[in-house]
Symmetry: C2
Subunit: 329 residues, 2 copies
């Protein structure tokens, strides 16, 4: 919008946006205790969008594959960003069924299970540069942020801190599905006086939390398609110590914004190195690579590509139809 | 098909049918351990159907609301049977968004939460009359069949049998979500020597199981939209003792095919009455009201109604469009 485009956002009524808002429901579905099934509201939004599709130059979807069947006919003016992990076995069949839908990935690593899909580009996420300022990292603790779950390995983060003899602050939510894991595997480890569990924190608290941290620990054990915590740390000038799975090697500049390591031993060894990194340079790298402006620029360029391909597709389609009609006559 | 119609069935490849089969997946999704998300296959089937929709006179959906957005434009040649309970809060918004889609209910009681929806008719389920023969009921036991879950109240069935001093045989599956309920609430009650838990049984075993039973106990505690077990019992000539919730009063003919009761006391008192019912008359009532032939006849009549309304709708639509064009000129 800041670049002069007209934008309509299809999202819940409590969305904070300067775009024209089309809301199929009043409240964010994941926060609405009355909502048992979010799917109907997605269909309502998609149906309203389909009826007004002629009024848009380009339609950018963040709804997985839900819209594929409804918008297959006008694929040439659509772009779909896939946000999740793509190694679920039921995803490949639907990507094969809709080979025309233009797709964007959030990292190159994300594509690994379906490299043959109709990928147009990778667009890394971005954050407003004004959201955080560079912190000074003088809190004396390591930080873990995100969700408590097996894949994010908070237990490894605790082990790293314990072995380094440094305090670890854990700011993380515990989703319903992860409660047993939290209780049985993580809760007992919190008795260690070095470990502090803070719970879930909002954007406004993240600045102080990450900005004061010596380093962010990101010892993931799954191919995370994009670790938003990584660029949140960078925005605060905080060095990263991350396991090299999934998108990590694309996001972390080894030796500049952090260190990519292979196991707990290497992570412990990387702490003094990370501490010595230039926090101003980390923040600068964030501004260069992960600002919203860069993300918006990338997407606008991608919209152009999509529309060009869509036009070519439409021309080829009508040529084929004309040929078929001529053959039939 | 036996009535001379051409039928195409969109379903998994292992479906047993004489119709032309269009399969988006090889195996029934609920039995496929590799399937984590059944939705993609539904969209694949709906997409293929949408592309070939012109070739069909009428399209009968059993896919809840999944197809509404894709087929809203040709609602006049569609019928949707809703099979589930309709009191979920997220269902009303999507029924309101697609008020044109013609709907069939599987009982009148099913409609209660959304009586204003676009109901065309109720069509009760049917079973092939050859599937079961009337049994003689001389097994000396009461029967409970279906799923172990809170709503079906196997605990009440056990209490009824215990109070009557009669054996109860329970043929029921335990779904994953119901395992805790089974373990904590039902398993302890199975120590009673009168109670026998058989587990899940197939169609071939149901004939002997129900045919030998003195009566079926159906002490439900939820508005069940259609109790298939009720007509399975009737097909075997087995009297029913059922709590009067949901569709029960529409399916059970009180004093003919069974007794509708209000609580455990009344159920116990109804056992000698049910035992005295004429099993041949019960089977006859099944053949009259719940055969597949009757179901097919009802649906064919309903297809006619839908197509007539659809044609009227199309005429009105093009008249409105012509009027709008004339006004614009």
């Amino acid at each position: 919008m800041r670049q002069g485009h007209e934008v309509t956002l299809f999202a819940s009524g409590d969305s904070q946006t300067r775009a024209r808002l089309q809301a199929p429901c009043a409240r964010a579905l994941r926060l609405d205790p009355h909502c048992k099934d979010p799917l109907p509201y997605h269909f309502i939004a998609l149906h309203r969008l389909a009826r007004s599709a002629d009024g848009f130059d380009i339609i950018h979807f963040h709804t997985d594959y839900l819209h594929f069947s409804l918008f297959a006919q006008c694929w040439g003016k659509t772009l779909t960003t896939l946000h999740g992990r793509l190694d679920l076995p039921d995803l490949a069949p639907i990507l094969r069924e809709f080979p025309m839908m233009p797709l964007a990935s959030i990292s190159d690593a994300q594509r690994a299970p379906v490299p043959w899909a109709n990928w147009y580009s990778t667009v890394y996420h971005g954050l407003p540069t004004s959201l955080y300022a560079g912190g000074c990292g003088d809190g004396g603790y390591l930080a873990f942020i995100g969700r408590i779950c097996r894949e994010k390995r908070p237990d490894w983060a605790i082990e790293i801190a314990h072995r380094a003899g440094m305090p670890l602050a854990i700011a993380a939510k515990v989703d319903k599905v992860d409660r047993t894991y939290y209780k049985t595997r993580i809760s007992p480890l919190l008795k260690d006086p070095l470990i502090e569990f803070i719970g879930e924190i909002g954007d406004s608290e993240k600045g102080a939390f990450l900005g004061d941290a010596v380093a962010l620990l990101f010892p993931i054990d799954w191919p995370e398609p994009f670790g938003l915590a990584l660029i949140e740390a960078m925005a605060n000038g905080t060095p990263i110590i991350a396991f090299g799975r999934g998108s990590v090697p694309e996001i972390v500049d080894h030796g500049v914004t952090g260190y990519i390591v292979g196991d707990v031993d290497e992570a412990v060894a990387a702490i003094p190195l990370a501490k010595a990194l230039d926090r101003v340079a980390i923040r600068r790298r964030f501004e260069e690579r992960f600002s919203v402006e860069r993300m918006a620029h990338d997407y606008l360029a991608l919209y152009d590509t999509v529309l060009r391909c869509g036009t070519v597709g439409a021309v080829l389609n009508s040529a084929a139809a004309a040929q078929a009609a001529a053959n039939a006559a």
